[in-house]
Symmetry: C3
Subunit: 458 residues, 3 copies
């Protein structure tokens, strides 16, 4: 079976953060995750990640999804791959793909097509390459009639070789059995005293084996990041690529500023995304919606014809024909059913809001099951926490909740219950009843004149 080794031991000193470089994020996901996705999309799931600097963070991130091995000393790319020999030896049939954990844009097409060439040409090793406008600093590919004769690093390249624009991406296919053998023959007799994976090519050729190269049409597979500026560029590149895909699908954008859409997000045609909107993983948005400006939607399912204006929504569901905002937060486990209208300064948490219910302003609905066509007065609060436990409120269809009502959970309002403004509901209320808790209004005449007088007297 074909395998993958991902090199994820780098530090990224110039990032100035204590984190392995492959864990720095592009569009919200570690670069390592982008590399893993490309493998999975190519049908490659037998993956070994070689960790090094702060390797425990790699393990923590992967959460056991894949094998990891530790490169305890930093002795070069060849040495990194050597750590994975036990992983390779479990099954030496087939081929092994070696990838850099910090080159996030490696694509499934390049992986598959390189494998095809690799097997067709019966190669021991096949380098994945690309052509760059400015190849300075990269290892140049020396092509021969039958394959390649090696990779020449910038510092070793002749003037003629420096003109070569085809460069090493750092990704390779190896025949697994050959890789194990070649690793055993690597030496660290160079100035840096490191084991270079690229040296395997010369060794293979010397043994009469074939070495080849597959040139990807997509030079972005080489892109990596050494500092925060590079990382910003990767993010910008990915942002624009994702937005470009949605434009093609018929999503409307009239100003891209501040819009970040993570790569797994789905959006229906005819939906408009306004400036400043951030759409995160797990989000699916229907057709003909208007989302933004300045929304954050994370792991939510949004129906069709939904209008969200300055809404933050997390782990929630919004059905069709809903209008929310401006300035509303849907906290996890909320379900807003079709036809609901939510106005400004409203928080919904862990609640279901029934069809056509209205929550107009300055209201908190938490841990509640709300029926259809309920009307919430301004300032309503579900008192879901008594300092010890959280309890639920149940509100029946057609209820009319007066302004500044407190609903002290656990409590249940039946159908079409009215609550008077300023009332604190502490017990269940039957269908059709009015609940009221109000003192007598006293009017003390000339109060403000006396107050003004006492102020003047001072």
């Amino acid at each position: 079976m074909n395998k993958v080794i991902i090199l994820a031991g780098g530090q990224g000193k110039r990032m100035k953060a204590d984190m392995p470089k492959p864990l720095f994020r592009v569009l919200g996901e570690p670069m390592l995750e982008w590399v893993i996705s490309a493998c999975e999309e190519s049908g490659l799931s037998d993956i070994c990640v070689v960790k090094g600097f702060m390797g425990e963070m790699i393990d923590e991130y992967l959460g056991g999804r894949y094998t990891t091995v530790l490169q305890a000393e930093r002795l070069g790319t060849g040495h990194a791959v050597m750590q994975a020999v036990p992983f390779l030896e479990k099954d030496t049939d087939g081929n092994t793909l070696v990838l850099c954990g910090d080159a996030p844009f490696i694509d499934p097409k390049a992986i598959s097509e390189a494998l095809e060439i690799h097997t067709q040409q019966n190669n021991a090793v096949t380098v994945i390459t690309a052509e760059l406008e400015n190849p300075h600093g990269y290892g140049r590919i020396i092509r021969t009639d039958s394959g390649i004769s090696g990779i020449v690093e910038q510092k070793d390249a002749s003037d003629e070789q420096k003109l070569i624009r085809e460069v090493n991406s750092g990704a390779y296919w190896f025949r697994t059995a050959d890789l194990i053998g070649l690793l055993g023959k690597l030496e660290c007799t160079n100035a840096q005293k490191e084991y270079y994976l690229t040296d395997t090519i010369a060794i293979a050729l010397a043994e009469g084996k074939n070495a080849g190269a597959y040139k990807s049409e997509n030079p972005d597979i080489i892109k990596g990041a050494n500092d925060r500026k590079d990382l910003l560029e990767l993010n910008t590149y990915a942002r624009m690529a994702v937005i470009g895909k949605h434009l093609e699908n018929g999503v409307e954008f009239t100003c891209l500023d501040g819009i970040t859409i993570e790569r797994s997000v789905e959006i229906g045609a005819g939906t408009e995304i306004l400036a400043g909107t951030i759409l995160r993983k797990g989000t699916v948005i229907g057709k003909s919606c208007s989302i933004g400006p300045n929304c954050i939607i994370e792991n939510c399912t949004i129906g069709n014809d939904v209008n969200l204006n300055n809404v933050q929504a997390y782990d929630s569901r919004v059905d069709d024909n809903v209008k929310i905002g401006p300035w509303v937060q849907l906290r996890p486990n909320s379900h807003i059913k079709s036809g609901v209208k939510i106005g400004d300064f409203v928080e919904i948490k862990n609640s279901t809001i029934g069809e056509q219910t209205a929550v107009a302003h300055l209201t908190y609905v938490g841990d509640s099951d709300v029926g259809k066509k309920v009307n919430f007065g301004c300032g309503t609060v579900t008192v879901n926490y008594d300092g010890v436990v959280k309890n639920r409120c149940v509100i029946g269809d057609n209820c009319f909740i007066g302004c500044n009502t407190n609903l002290v959970a656990p409590v249940k309002l039946g159908k079409a219950v009215y609550t008077a403004a300023g009332t604190t509901i502490t017990k269940d209320v039957p269908d059709y009843a009015l609940a009221i808790d109000r003192g007598k209004l006293a009017v003390k005449e000339n109060y403000s004149l006396r107050k003004l007088k006492s102020k003047l007297d001072k």
Copy 2:
């Protein structure tokens, strides 16, 4: 009288939305509206819009403002114009302008200057043209000593003709009587079996009539959109053009990101517009204001020296020296008078707020008439809806509304009325009075110790 025919039958399949292409919006207005405005600014009001794909949406949008005719089959631009012959025959004196409904940047200057040349040269038809850096794909203008000899499409152009950078904008002036005649002679003997409007030129010349071209200095008159990416480009172009105009007028911008200003908006010199601000149709802003970040202002009149920070305002009026925000919504029909201060998390709807009144935080004022120098405590709610009808609150000058007060409409507070915190006002309160509705405060000692004990007991 001079007339206009606007071709608005296109579908825009690559937009992936069921809407006629001319209804896709640039800076908030359909491209068709931009074309109509250019006509109106040129003094041309006798307009016939030729609809086709989902033509009923064109009618719905126009709301009877102009004549429309339906092109039921899609048989080319010539065929589209043929549908307007009855419109033309009502008055065959004068000239007729033919425009594309999806080229929004046609400008009044080009329209007027082209008409001048058209009449001076006694032309049957005058093509409006522009010179493009890259003319590939456009019909080239073949000039002669006395006018033009025709328009050659890309696919028919010789190598020499392909070098011509003057291209057809798709806009033409015709002598109306000639246009009717020429349309009658169009044939659809080409491969596509369509009637091409450009064929009228050859027919006119063959009849010994004059055909000419007017070259606009502004190549943007040709810009159109076939997909969402093009539409984004049109929006970006228009955004920057509008902002450029305001910069010239002395409006301050230090960062343009997320700023979209529709073309009819007026802004006084010395006003600063901050990032993320969207200013929509019908908005007029005075001098020395600070608007933004992240405001949405739609159809509002804003005075001088106004500071709006994260405010959304719709169909409302704000007088001089007002400070609002952050996070405030003015819903339609609100009038905020001079010297008012509104703080955070406030909604005003269909209300007048008198001079120097303060609404500091977390308050809803709806359907109310509020006097001068009123102070609203935090959490005040005007209870304007009883589940059946909406009523108004009237609050006199110098009132002091306590925190978490409910004002149950209809209700009237006189001058300088005080309401105690937490009071629900259910009847009118005379001038200078205090209204209070408060139970006796009971203090139960050691409550939390007992509560903690019972918790520990569990």
Copy 3:
């Protein structure tokens, strides 16, 4: 001692605002302030600002920090410097730097290195220059073997001189004693009848004195602004330069849109700044924070591991491990201690919030001293203003404030006090007590049926 004269008399008519040009702002600070900072960083504090158009605004801005003199008539740069002669005569030893008040990017390196050359070469005058890609419109520097022979303005330059790309920045070092002498010899016999400071070079050379030039590597020292478009460009340039510095320091940015960071702001490595965030003067942010989107932070100290989402904070302090937002305002003089969580629609003003306290939603805490581990229910209001004076609330550790509670200041809650939902607290509450102010809840059956019936009857 070395001195500085800053020319700040210009009007900037094309800005279309009544303000001296040097007071227009780049990244929140007047251009004049940028020039002053460059002097101060170079150890030059003896500064005379020459004011002219609306000079009183310059005085008001400077607030007595530096000497100012008025150029009452606009008779050229030489005339402007003449107004400072009394300032120069106080101490004629040493050298005098002349700077433009509207060229904000003059840098301390250029100032110091130019002074070094100036003294080494024993010059009477040393021009600070830079090389421009497109020098059109600028005065060209005519170099000789021993120094310079003069500065030729665009309109007077020969074709050969027009090819010179080294231009006058408008900044000069003079030997102070020489400057006084040279100013005395300036004439206004030119067409404009103005005294040109550049004429001092020819006079000095004619007297056998040395004139030289120092070429800065940084052409941006020349950048100025004549209109709002230029000013936008200066702002954009400065924004990107400041962000670039933070990227180098390990601050994470994945989208720069709408981000403006003033130049004195400090940010720790590993902190992420999200789109739409504005960081103003006096702000220091720690490590590993997440700030944004859409925050405004002004003159605040923010600790490590702080998460601010849509927060506006002014003149306040936030300690470590605090999470605030979305939509929260910290008004001046607030101190949020470590471990605090503040949710949505909360305003804190002039208050201390103790460690690990939670203020979840829709709450106003003003003029209050809040202890540790307090829990604020939704809708809590500190009633800090009685219409005459503001008073404080004191809330002990471990208090549990019920929803929609009013705390009428001055009031003190002891330790672990509970308040019942909907209660108005008007007197101090001892440790561990429950305070409750609640009427009896009345339930009126079939109310909504009657209401519906009466509605139907109408």
